[in-house]
């Protein structure tokens, strides 16, 4: 597990209002099915921007971007966040 994934899970734990512990999420788990609401996904988005010092462009402000730990990591990578091998 990479440091980036850890940080994503920390953000999800703090802002996702999920009924399950974010540390137990598999990277492909559908966060919406796990209880991530639209409004919570907005808070996750803002917290990710703070945590990784990035700004999601309009093209990434879509539901699919925040669907799983893996899709979030993919979006961050596309913004230049370096994902070190875990």
């Amino acid at each position: 597990m990479s440091a980036v994934d850890d940080k994503i899970r920390e953000v999800l734990e703090a802002h996702g209002r999920l009924p399950v512990a974010a540390s137990g999420l598999k990277e492909g788990d559908d966060l919406y099915q796990r209880g991530l609401s639209s409004h919570a996904s907005v808070n996750v988005m803002l917290a990710l921007e703070d945590a990784f010092d990035v700004e999601f462009p309009d093209s990434l402000l879509r539901r699919d971007t925040f669907r799983s730990v893996a899709t979030i990591r993919g979006a961050l990578e596309s913004l230049g966040v370096v994902v070190a091998p875990g």
Binding site: S38, H39, M45, L61, R63
Partner: protein
């Protein structure tokens, strides 16, 4: 016909009077009679459905604006009532400013009253912290709403009425309420001779976070609008049918019998917009409208009463 052209026609026919600010109008009795008839028409269609039926004034508690999340999602549209909060000793300076023509509104402070944001919002605090009956709860409500979005288009008034049917209960019940009313609304408005279609829509959520909320709303097909020409050939929303998931149930701690946050849905009919659609479609004198439309709206009955 452009929206500006139709606005001029409405003003010269005396159906509306210019309130002096963009999007602010006074309604003639003739306009009002149609708007009220539209409210009564949709109300008749929902007769027997709601256990609670309420007419609301144009204001609500400011806490409702906050609790509903409206102020977070639409800060650019809200209105909060301000009033003079000083003491008598502040009055001379206040009057001096008034006379000098400088900005006196600095002397005002926001009160705990806000203008009403949407027809269903003031309903949720009424059942906050309660457990709903097994069958859920249905409320019919007519409300004056306010949106701060000045526009020359008469379809975009800053104050207008929504006539709503609201459901609170299970997820299935909420989706069923929205879908059933969307279809019924399409039939009701189509029967008035309007060219109505149902489209997937999103609320105009504010800013970057709003773009994500809007994308979510569209992807999940939570909001539908019934659109028709209102002030020009370009169709606009005259009604909207919404499934809020458990957003309001969670925000106001409204529970179902199984302890879960209630899901809610509503359909809102925009009385001014529907009235405008009718004037655009059938002409500016309602006396000359097709008799079927007049009958459905009971306009002739009302004429006799007058």
């Amino acid at each position: 016909m452009s929206a500006e052209g139709f606005r001029e026609e409405l003003l010269s026919a005396g159906l509306l009077a210019d309130g002096g600010l963009a999007g602010v109008y006074h309604r003639s009795f003739e306009f009002e009679r149609v708007a009220v008839a539209v409210g009564a028409y949709v109300s008749r269609a929902g007769r027997g459905e709601a256990s609670r039926r309420l007419y609301l004034g144009p204001v609500q508690a400011r806490t409702t604006l906050e609790g509903s999340g409206y102020v977070t999602s639409f800060p650019n549209l809200v209105g909060v009532v301000s009033s003079f909060a000083g003491t008598e000793s502040d009055v001379p300076a206040f009057l001096e400013e008034l006379e000098a023509g400088v900005d006196w509104t600095d002397r005002l402070a926001p009160t705990d009253i806000a203008l009403c944001s949407a027809g269903c919002h003031p309903i949720y605090p009424l059942v906050a912290g309660t457990t709903l009956p097994d069958a859920g709860e249905r409320v019919e409500v007519q409300t004056w709403c306010f949106r701060h979005e000045p526009s020359p288009d008469p379809a975009r008034m800053q104050t207008f009425r929504q006539h709503e049917f609201v459901y609170l209960g299970s997820a299935d019940g909420a989706v069923d309420h929205r879908d059933r009313w969307l279809e019924q609304g399409r039939e009701l408005l189509g029967a008035l001779g309007l060219e109505v279609s149902a489209v997937v829509a999103n609320d105009p959520f504010f800013g970057r976070t709003g773009r994500l909320l809007a994308a979510n709303q569209r992807t999940k097909e939570l909001k539908f609008e019934l659109v028709a020409p209102i002030s020009s050939a370009t169709p606009g929303a005259i009604s909207s049918a919404n499934y809020h998931e458990d957003h309001f149930g969670d925000a106001f701690d409204i529970r179902t019998a199984d302890g879960q946050a209630a899901h809610t849905a509503c359909i809102g009919f925009g009385l001014e917009r529907i009235a405008l659609s009718l004037f655009l479609r059938h002409g500016l004198r309602d006396e000359a409208w097709p008799s079927e439309v007049r009958t459905r709206l009971a306009l002739d009955v009302d004429e006799e009463v007058r």
